[in-house]
Amino acid sequence: MWVARVDEGYVFGDLAPSSVETLKGIPMLIESEDPRVRGRLLPDTCDDEADAAHWREHAVPELERLFLSRAQLVRRDLAGLRKMSKSEHQFLLLPDAHVNAWLAALNAARLALFELNDLKAADMEPENFGALQGKQQEALMRIHLLAEIQSVLLGDFEVESCGPFGDFVPE
């Protein structure tokens, strides 16, 4: 995977089929009804039962609507995935106006993968990778891929600037 800066946003290119599959899984992870995912994305906020009920009544429905709307935005951007000119790999434009929504969506997807695969904090350490089950290893690789994209959007890396997206030819 490589990344380039265009006037309209960030272009992620040379996305292998496994990376594309991971990206396409983001909306489904955000929308997951699995109690482990819901428990993490919509956690209990107050110890007192009356306060917790107040939170569930007033805050949770608004958060649910926000998450669904983010999932739809991510799905729309992913519909713009295009094949590279010289390979079956693909590239994707993430517009600047969508960066904050993508950052949150990527975080939600990473948290959901962590919960759904029964990973623990110690499993995030590289030296423990070999002891994990195959499915957990795959989940962890997806978590790291999404973290790389998050890091780019957070400005943690310098990215080459390439002018307007229309003039950009990914090879």
């Binding site: 007033h58 608004e62 890091s151």
Partner: protein, 99 residues
């Protein structure tokens, strides 16, 4: 005259302001092993308008001690902040300040 004086006294007692204030609430962010540190810092800057230095200090406190009180104040505003932090998927709770 006596009756009028008594009425005045009663009115004054009724109008006495309440002195018991609602307790403040803490907005607490908890550590999780997945969320990136730079993302936590960005969210603190975005949600509270904190300077980068303060946001990083709070993020490091979360990372090192497992939690940080990131804001304290009136319940309604604390709930609003907690909702914004949860909108970014930071593990957030609310607690009434003791005493």
């Amino acid at each position: 005259m006596r009756v009028r004086a008594a009425t005045k006294e009663k009115t004054a007692k009724q109008a006495k302001p309440k002195t018991a204030l609602a307790p403040p609430w803490n907005v607490v962010v908890h550590d999780d092993p997945v969320t990136l540190m730079s993302y936590v810092t960005k969210v603190f800057v975005q949600v509270f308008g904190y300077a980068e230095v303060k946001a990083k200090q709070l993020m490091m406190e979360v990372h090192k001690t497992g939690r940080s009180v990131v804001w304290t104040g009136a319940r309604e505003q604390a709930e609003m902040y907690a909702q914004k932090l949860q909108a970014h998927h930071l593990l957030t709770t609310l607690e009434v300040v003791d005493g």
